[in-house]
Point group: C2
Chain length 480, copies 2
């Protein structure tokens, strides 16, 4: 058994625990090419679920999916100076195609603003062509030099990137907000990861944006993880790429734009937040397999009877919308199977043994609480359906409680440093809005402002660093 189980405790060596959970549950693997990872079927199926959920939401609100090339000429990236500075240290360059050196080297997209907007300029002529609301699912490349962390830091990762163009600032503001809400729904109600939502400071915003909004989750090691961002780009890119339209009064105007994205790193957050010493723990709404049935042949009842009962239950659940697997492999023992499926994070296990057959019942085991429940066979579909919902809420509520407990409100910099050193987490403090203070706090503690709440919170002290008048209540943390 030991070869498949996790050999360290989450509470003792979080980083090693995280890597073991991912590798041993077969979510992912290191790739044979440096800095890259392989999304194995177990994590890719979760990503497909996320795609399905998010696609349905954004298509309902008039967005459409497209695919733009992965190559971006260097000159395009250079057009918006701030954007270029932001991405250039991390770009992978294609310099040779077939036998020939390229005249202009090509970046592999770190993000697609420049390649898409140069084309938007061609497509948009009149107010009739607006809004444009496009999204792509693709992979992007950022040439990380630090060591790989599966899902969190790899040179290539999967994401979606939305890019919209609107006639007015108000419409673009509204789009930023609409997407933020959609992200919140996916992250909290499906991945069961609670988040703080707010704006980024000037220092932390996206390179080239007017402002950036983001969703931040808190990990068990006290560090914040950004789950998604939604940017109001203003007219920064439209002026550079010359994206103009004739309004209803035949007047030429620049469009207002937004871009927004989330990536496979959200799977990493889900692993860290819900997993335990037995392995993964998947929220039922994104679990590729929600229920596993394990027949337990044992003396007293004919093994064939147990098998056929297991198949019956399997069929019954299959006919509902529940995703279920019957593990009747003869080459593994029930004990081995229990561990293997717990490791993979399947929310509910159904055991069918001699006693269950005799009593016309099944035994359920919850992955989240380890609770075991005996159930009449006839109730199985209804009860499993209810239980899946309950597990989903339980995971979220547990995580919500620890998010709330991670927030420490401080009035002085000494308190800030002490609490932050001890346990990390979010430090809620007042700030004068001056970048210098933000910068110094970062240099001295490693904490950055993760989020400035959208609805201003009531000022309760002077600026935590300089002692001048405070303008905002903000949330600091060390970031992943």
């Amino acid at each position: 058994m030991s070869d498949i189980g996790i050999t360290v405790k989450k509470s003792e060596d979080f980083s090693e625990w995280y890597t073991q959970v991912i590798l041993k549950s077969e979510l992912a693997d290191y790739a044979p090419v440096k800095g890259c990872m392989i999304f194995r079927e177990h994590s890719y199926a979760i990503w497909e679920k996320i795609q399905e959920i998010f696609n349905a939401k954004i298509k309902r609100t008039g967005h459409r999916n497209v695919y733009f090339p992965m190559f971006i000429p260097e000159s395009f990236l250079k057009k918006e100076a701030e954007h270029f500075q932001g991405f250039i240290p991390q770009v992978a360059w294609v310099t040779v195609g077939g036998d020939s050196q390229l005249e202009e080297k090509l970046a592999i997209r770190p993000t697609s603003e420049t390649i898409m907007y140069s084309t938007y300029a061609k497509w948009i002529r009149s107010w009739r062509d607006l809004p444009i609301k496009l999204n792509q699912w693709n992979s992007v490349v950022r040439w990380e030099t630090e060591s790989t962390r599966l899902f969190l830091r790899t040179r290539e990762f999967l994401w979606q990137e939305g890019h919209t163009a609107h006639a007015t600032k108000e419409e673009a503001d509204q789009e930023v907000k609409e997407i933020l809400d959609a992200y919140k729904d996916v992250i909290e109600n499906y991945l069961a990861v609670p988040v703080l939502i707010g704006k980024k400071t000037e220092r932390e915003k996206f390179a080239g944006a007017l402002y950036t909004t983001a969703l931040e989750a808190m990990m068990p090691d006290g560090k914040a993880l950004q789950m998604g961002t939604s940017h109001q780009l203003g007219q920064n890119f439209s002026k550079v790429f010359n994206i103009k339209f004739l309004d209803k009064n035949e007047k030429e105007r620049y469009v207002w734009q937004t871009s927004w994205g989330f990536s496979t790193r959200m799977i990493g957050a889900m692993v860290m937040l819900h997993g335990d010493d037995k392995g993964l723990m998947l929220p039922p709404k994104v679990a590729p397999i929600q229920v596993v049935i394990i027949p337990i042949p044992y003396k007293g009842v004919d093994a064939k009877v147990i098998q056929s009962r297991a198949r019956e239950i399997h069929e019954r659940l299959q006919k509902s919308t529940i995703s279920v697997v019957l593990d009747d492999r003869a080459e593994y023992t029930p004990g081995w199977k229990f561990n293997a499926w717990e490791l993979k994070g399947v929310p509910i296990r159904i055991e069918i043994g001699p006693r269950d057959v005799k009593k016309k019942q099944v035994t359920l085991a919850r992955r989240d609480t380890s609770e075991r429940i005996a159930l009449k066979e006839d109730d199985v579909v209804n009860e499993v359906t209810k239980l899946l919902e309950e597990i989903q809420s339980n995971l979220f509520n547990r995580a919500k409680k620890s998010l709330e407990e991670s927030i420490a409100t401080v009035e002085t910099y000494d308190e800030f440093k002490e609490i932050f050193r001890k346990k990390g987490g979010f430090i809620r403090a007042c700030w004068c809005s001056n970048s210098a203070c933000e910068e110094k706090i970062k240099d001295e503690t490693g904490a950055t402002i993760r989020t400035v709440p959208l609805e201003k919170e009531k000022i309760f002290s002077k600026c935590v660093y300089c002692g001048e008048e405070a303008k905002e209540v903000v949330y600091f943390a060390k970031a992943y």
Copy 2:
């Protein structure tokens, strides 16, 4: 109107017609980076339908989706000599990451055999780990030097690539066949593109395969277009990448492998085959929009009554599984809308005008036959459902007839050359199985053997080139 319509006839300038249809129907556009294209929402939605259909099929038969990195170290590509020779002239190379020159240059995947199989070697230990049946949806890069043809020849394109490993040759053979059948179903029954199916000759097979099977369609300009391939890789790659397993007798064996793929070029085939002088014509089963409703306000009936009737019909169709759009934009005339939606290939148009309102009917127009049909309002869901099926069959049957008419059986090389020069198409002829004859025919006429039928056809002459004993009946054509 003229600015949105196609300005050449399909029969007069096929190549220009093809480009205009794609650009004007907004299926796709040229990218601002050389040799690349943009998959706009109209074609990407078709691709999403194809993904949905194919995913359902392969998941039912135990395949799973994954994602491997886009980067392949040069040393990996070099491991299988034949494979390397086949792809090396077309590879795009990343040589710089961030600020530094890479130690080993990285290919952007032209296909993923080498990167995947080096990992399969790590994952596979015992017969219990087999079969492995994985698939990826991604983009691949082949550095074409000829000029771009949208969907048919671009430096980056979208595809799926399946990669399986099995314990025995028989299982791998069966996998090749199973996928070929799945491809046939997608291509014929959804895209309505009829195909010839068979093996490739040694000269035409995939670089590194034992044998290659393929599906070939015939385009209106007399050239064949390969719609998908399914390869038996034998143990070529497993020996190179050392993919071994212990069988049930604890004996070490190399796995047998298959790989298979189809790409977005199949959308190009669909455009060429079904389109007409008015634009695209989409088979209902892959049409993102199956029905468009156009209210026709005109004297005699209050415009509001017509609008509300149109909305009613819209809602009724929406509640069914039919994909429907109500085009009630005030800024365009009904005539303009008719042309615009015909250009986009929507299978059925529903008109609601004063006469329709008075008679409690709607008027249907079929995109495939231009036929107009008056229909009782109450029958609309049933009748539209039936008509969509009829249009689907009609498109396939028309194409099937022209595929059959494109095949010319010849006994002599003179006949071969004359017919081939006149009209292209498939030339059905007997062949001695000697590569030299195949090579000479290609040099002299440009025709290659597209397919060798899986079930041998009856020999009816000597080899069409050398006059020696024939071994096979084969199908020649000029290939896209």
